[in-house]
C-alpha cells in the first residue's frame, strides 16, 4: 500500500506527496503530459530532442546538472510515445534545490543556439548507437510503421529518420515548449521522509507563480481495426534470422489490459513458460523467444519475437509459434499456470516498492491515467484475471489478421562496400 496526499496549485500543477520514513533519499519526479505521439509526422523525434534541451540551462540558471551535483543529487529523464518524465534523487536535506531547478525550467529555458546545435548531434549519435549501429537495432523503425497506419505510434520516440532531428530549429523548440511545458500539463510527485505541509509550501513558493496556459487538447487519429495480416521482409547483415510478430492489443485503461499482460507472461516469462519450453527447449527451433506488451497508453502491441537457430526455416519457425498460440486459444490454462504469473506480479511489485523513485514514478503515471490511487489497485486487477478471460483475450488478439509480421533475414551475401 502506497499512501499519499494530493493537491493542485492554482496554476493547475498537480502535486502528489508520498511519505517513506525509511530512506534518507528523496525522489522528485516531474512528468509532462507530452510524448512522441504528440509530434507532427514531418517532425518526429522532437519530444525526445526537446528532453535533451531541458538540460541546457533555464532562464535564470545557466546549468541544470551542476548545482544539483553540488548538493549530492543525480537526475535523468526519458521520453516515451506517451510521456516525458524527469526525475531527481537527492539527500533529503537538500530537497529545495530540486524545486529551484525544475521550477525554473518550467518557467522558461535559456534557448541557446549552442545547446540546440550540440544536442542535435548528441541525439543523432544516440540514434546511431541504439538503432543503426546495432544488430537488429532498426527493428522498431520497421515494425511500427508496418503495424500502424494512422496513429502516431507508427514512429519511434527517437524519430522516423535522422533528418527530422537535423532540421529542428529554435523556432520549433520554442513553440513546443510553450505548447506543452505548462504547470497545468504536469504532475509532480515527491517521495521520501517528508511532510506534506513542507511540500505544499515549497511547491507554492517555487511553482506557484508560473502562469498556466492553454493545455494542448490531444486529438489523435484512431487507428482503424486491422482486418488482414501485414508482412514485411528485410535482409540485414546479422548473424541469425529473426522473426517479430506484433499483435494489436487494448489500451492501458481498458478492462482487458491486465489479462493481456498475463497472457504474454504465460507465453514467455521465465524458463517454465510455454514458448520457451516448447520452442527453445523441446523443439530446438529458436535460440531465444520472448513475448511482451508495449504498455502504451493508447491501443498497443503484444509482440512475440525470436531468433531462429541455424538451419530452421522461417515457415517452420512461424508455424510453430502459431501452433502454440492455437493451443492457448482452445484449451483453458491451468490454475497452476495462472497463479504462477500472478505470484510473479506480486513479488515484482513488492521488490519495486523498495525504491522511492519507482514509487514516485508509478504514482505520477497512475495520476496521469486517471487516479494516483490506482497504483494500489493494480494487484487486485491482476488477481481478478481468470482462465476464461485469458482464453477470450487470446482469441481476440492472437489472430493473423490482427498481426504485423517482420521477417528479419540475414544477408545471403555479405555487404560489398
Amino acid at each position: 500500500m502506497i499512501n499519499f496526499d494530493k493537491f493542485t496549485l492554482k496554476n493547475g500543477l498537480k502535486v502528489i506527496v508520498h511519505k517513506d520514513e525509511s530512506t534518507p533519499i528523496v525522489a522528485f519526479n516531474l512528468l509532462y503530459n507530452v510524448g512522441a505521439r504528440d509530434e507532427d509526422e514531418n517532425q518526429t523525434g522532437f519530444a525526445h530532442l526537446f528532453e535533451h534541451l531541458m538540460f541546457g540551462g533555464s532562464v535564470n540558471i545557466p546549468s541544470f546538472d551542476e548545482p544539483l551535483q553540488k548538493v549530492g543529487g543525480t537526475n535523468n529523464a526519458f521520453t516515451s510515445n506517451d510521456i516525458t518524465n524527469y526525475y531527481i534523487t537527492l539527500p533529503k536535506d537538500n530537497l529545495e534545490t530540486a524545486f529551484w531547478l525544475d521550477s525554473d525550467r518550467m518557467l522558461s529555458l535559456a534557448f541557446t543556439e549552442k545547446s540546440l546545435e550540440v544536442q542535435r548531434s548528441v541525439v543523432i549519435e544516440e540514434f546511431k548507437q541504439n538503432y543503426l549501429n546495432q544488430p537488429y537495432g532498426d527493428v522498431w523503425l520497421l515494425l511500427r510503421p508496418l503495424a500502424y497506419q494512422v496513429h502516431p505510434y507508427k514512429w519511434a520516440t527517437i524519430g522516423k529518420e535522422v533528418s527530422h532531428i537535423e532540421n529542428a530549429t529554435m523556432k520549433d523548440v520554442k513553440s513546443f515548449f510553450y505548447k506543452h511545458y505548462l504547470p497545468n500539463n504536469a504532475i509532480l510527485t515527491v517521495a521520501g521522509n517528508i511532510d506534506v505541509e513542507d511540500i505544499k509550501q515549497l511547491a507554492e513558493k517555487w511553482f506557484g507563480n508560473i502562469p498556466s496556459g492553454n493545455a494542448h487538447k490531444r486529438n489523435l487519429p484512431k487507428e482503424p481495426k486491422q482486418t488482414e495480416a501485414k508482412r514485411l521482409k528485410v535482409e540485414r547483415d546479422v548473424p541469425a534470422n529473426a522473426i517479430y510478430k506484433a499483435y494489436k492489443m487494448c489500451s492501458k485503461k481498458h478492462a482487458d489490459y491486465h489479462t493481456t499482460d498475463l497472457l504474454s507472461d504465460i507465453l514467455s516469462l521465465g524458463k517454465s513458460s510455454r514458448l520457451y519450453v516448447s520452442l527453445v527447449k523441446e523443439q530446438k527451433l529458436f535460440s531465444e523467444i520472448n513475448a511482451y506488451i508495449s504498455g502504451d497508453f493508447d491501443e498497443g502491441l503484444l509482440t512475440i519475437s525470436g531468433k531462429l537457430l541455424d538451419g530452421i526455416s522461417f515457415e517452420n519457425a512461424e508455424q510453430s509459434i502459431i501452433k502454440e498460440l492455437e493451443i492457448i486459444k482452445v484449451d483453458l490454462i491451468t490454475n497452476n499456470e495462472l497463479s504462477k504469473v500472478k505470484n510473479k506480479i506480486e513479488s515484482t511489485s513488492q521488490f519495486s516498492e523498495t525504491s522511492v523513485l519507482n514509487k514516485a514514478m508509478n504514482l505520477s503515471f497512475a495520476e496521469l491515467l486517471g487516479d494516483a490511487n490506482d497504483v494500489n489497485l493494480e494487484i487486485e486487477h491482476y488477481q481478478k484475471v481468470n482462465a476464461n478471460g485469458i482464453k477470450r483475450v487470446a482469441n481476440e488478439v492472437l489472430n493473423e489478421s490482427n498481426c504485423s509480421t517482420l521477417i528479419y533475414a540475414k544477408q545471403t551475401m555479405p555487404a560489398n562496400n
Binding site: 551535483q69 549530492g72 548528441v122 523498495t354
Partner: protein, 427 residues
C-alpha cells in the same frame, strides 16, 4: 509577498551522516558463515550464495561462466523445467552471475515463500546434473548470442581491451573466440563444479526482512551438509603485463567507433584507491565530468562517455569507454587525451573539487539506501576481508583530499605512454 530570487540557489549541506544498516554474522550448524542485513518495510528477501568460482579459477575459457549457468538446468532430483517451475510458481526469481573473481547465485523471494523455494535452491547448489542434453542446448544458444555480440563495436572493444591489458595467459584476460565454445567439454564443467562449488567455499548474504525463521530455514537446508575446504586454485599466470598497446580493428560499415582507453590500476586494498576514485569522478565518473562536458556537451561527438575503476581481487583496472561518430573518431581521441593530460598538469580548482566531493558523498548515501543496496556494499568489501570501516575511511578520504594530492596521483597513474587504447570501427 516577497519576490523570489530565482538566480539564487537555496542553501544546502554536505552529507554528513550516513547510517549503515548493521550486518550480523552468524553460523549454520556446520560452520557456514551467514551475514545478514535486516531492514526495509517489504516482506521480501534476497539471498546471495557467493562462491570463489569466477574466471580466476578456470584453466580454459568459458568454463566458469558455463558451469555457473548450467547448474540451474537440471539436478539429480529435478529436471530443468521442474526447477524453473518450482521457483516461478511462488513468484520468486533465481539468478546466476559469473564475474572475474566470484560466481553468485541469487534468490529473490517473498519471505513467506522461502521454505517453498529453498528445496530447489539446495538441489541446484549441491546436486546439479550437467546432462549432455542440456549442455548441448546451452552451448548452441550461447554461440548464437556470442555471434550477435561480435557484431557490436562496444562488445568487441571491451573484449580486446581486457585481452590487451592482461596477458593472454592471465585468467582476467584470454580472449574468448567462437571456437572456444566447440572446445567446451562437459567433464571440464563437472570438474570445475567439483573443485569450486562446495559449501565450504561459499559466502551467504541475506538481506531484506530477515527474521529468525529465515535463518532457521537456511540452517535446515544447508546447515547439516558436510562441508569441505575448497580445493579451488587460481589458474594461469597472474603476472601483470604492463606494456601498453594500441589496437585498431576496422569495421567498414560502422557508423560509430567504440573506444576504450585504460590500464591496470590499484584495487580496494591499495592506499591510492580512494584518491583515484575522486580523480576518476572528475575525469569521467559522473554526468558533469570533464569527458562528458567536453566530448558530449561541448562537441556533440557522442551520446555518452564515461570512465570507471574496477577493483578485482588481485588487481584492478581503469577504463574510459565511449562510442563516437565514426567521422569524428580521431577528434574524439585528441580531446580524450587532452582531458587526461590536464589531470596530470593542472590542479583541480577548489570549486570543482567541492562539487565532486559533495556529489560522491550524496551517491554514497544513495547506495546505502535500503537493505539490498547495503548488502551490495557489504559484499563488495567483504570479499577483500574488509568491513564497513572501509566506507568510513572512504568518507574521510573524500572530505580531506586536496588538489595537490590529486595532481600527484594524476602524474603517477595517467601517463599517456602507459595507457592502452582500443578502437573498433573507423579511424
Amino acid at each position: 509577498m516577497t519576490t523570489l530570487d530565482r538566480k539564487k540557489a537555496p542553501s544546502f549541506q554536505q552529507v554528513n551522516n550516513i547510517k549503515f544498516l548493521d550486518v550480523t554474522k552468524t553460523h549454520l550448524d556446520n560452520g557456514i558463515e551467514v551475514n545478514y542485513i535486516d531492514g526495509g518495510s517489504q516482506e521480501i528477501l534476497k539471498i546471495d550464495f557467493i562462491f570463489n568460482a569466477g574466471n580466476l579459477f578456470q584453466s580454459k575459457p568459458l568454463t566458469a561462466s558455463s558451469t555457473n549457468q548450467l547448474m540451474k538446468e537440471g539436478t539429480k532430483k529435478y529436471s530443468s523445467f521442474e526447477i524453473s517451475e518450482g521457483i516461478d510458481k511462488y513468484g520468486s526469481f533465481f539468478e546466476v552471475e559469473n564475474s572475474y573473481d566470484t560466481a553468485t547465485l541469487t534468490l529473490y523471494t517473498l519471505t513467506k515463500h522461502l521454505s517453498n523455494v529453498l528445496p530447489y535452491v539446495k538441489e541446484v547448489l549441491l546436486q546439479p546434473e550437467f546432462s549432455k542434453k542440456e549442455f548441448e542446448i546451452f552451448k548452441e544458444n550461447a554461440i548464437e548470442r556470442f555471434k550477435i555480440n561480435l557484431e557490436k563495436v562496444s562488445f568487441l572493444a571491451r573484449k580486446e581491451f581486457m585481452n590487451a591489458i592482461f596477458s593472454e595467459k592471465h585468467p582476467y584476460g584470454g580472449t574468448v573466440n567462437i571456437n572456444d565454445y566447440s572446445k567446451l567439454c562437459l567433464d571440464d564443467l563437472k570438474e570445475f563444479y567439483h573443485n569450486n562449488y562446495n559449501l565450504g567455499n561459499c559466502n551467504i548474504i541475506v538481506s531484506g526482512k530477515v527474521d529468525k525463521t529465515s535463518i532457521n530455514l537456511l540452517n535446515t537446508f544447508f546447515g547439516k551438509e558436510i562441508t569441505s575446504q575448497s580445493t579451488a586454485k587460481t589458474q594461469g599466470d597472474l603476472n601483470l603485463n604492463i606494456d601498453s598497446k594500441k589496437v585498431y580493428i576496422e569495421k567498414e560499415n560502422a557508423l560509430q567507433s567504440a573506444i576504450r582507453i585504460g590500464r591496470i590500476f590499484p584495487n580496494k586494498l591499495h592506499k591510492d584507491y580512494f584518491g583515484l576514485q575522486v580523480l576518476n569522478t572528475v575525469l569521467g565518473g559522473y554526468f558533469g565530468s570533464r569527458l562528458m562536458n567536453n566530448i558530449r556537451e561541448d562537441k556533440g561527438y557522442t551520446y555518452g562517455i564515461g570512465s570507471g575503476i574496477l577493483s578485482l581481487k588481485n588487481t584492478g583496472y581503469f577504463f574510459i569507454s565511449t562510442e563516437v561518430g565514426s567521422d569524428v573518431t580521431k577528434d574524439a581521441l585528441i580531446e580524450i587525451y587532452k582531458e587526461i593530460e590536464t589531470i596530470r598538469t593542472q590542479e583541480i580548482s577548489k570549486e570543482e573539487l567541492d562539487l565532486v566531493k559533495n556529489y560522491m558523498l550524496g551517491q554514497l548515501l544513495t547506495s546505502c539506501d535500503g537493505p539490498f543496496n547495503m548488502a551490495s556494499l557489504f559484499e563488495s568489501v567483504n570479499e577483500y576481508g574488509l568491513d564497513y570501516e572501509f566506507y568510513n575511511n572512504y568518507i574521510k578520504s573524500i572530505k580531506e583530499i586536496t588538489p595537490k594530492t590529486l595532481l600527484e596521483l594524476g602524474i603517477k597513474y595517467f601517463d599517456k605512454s602507459e595507457l592502452t587504447e582500443i578502437v573498433v570501427g573507423k579511424l
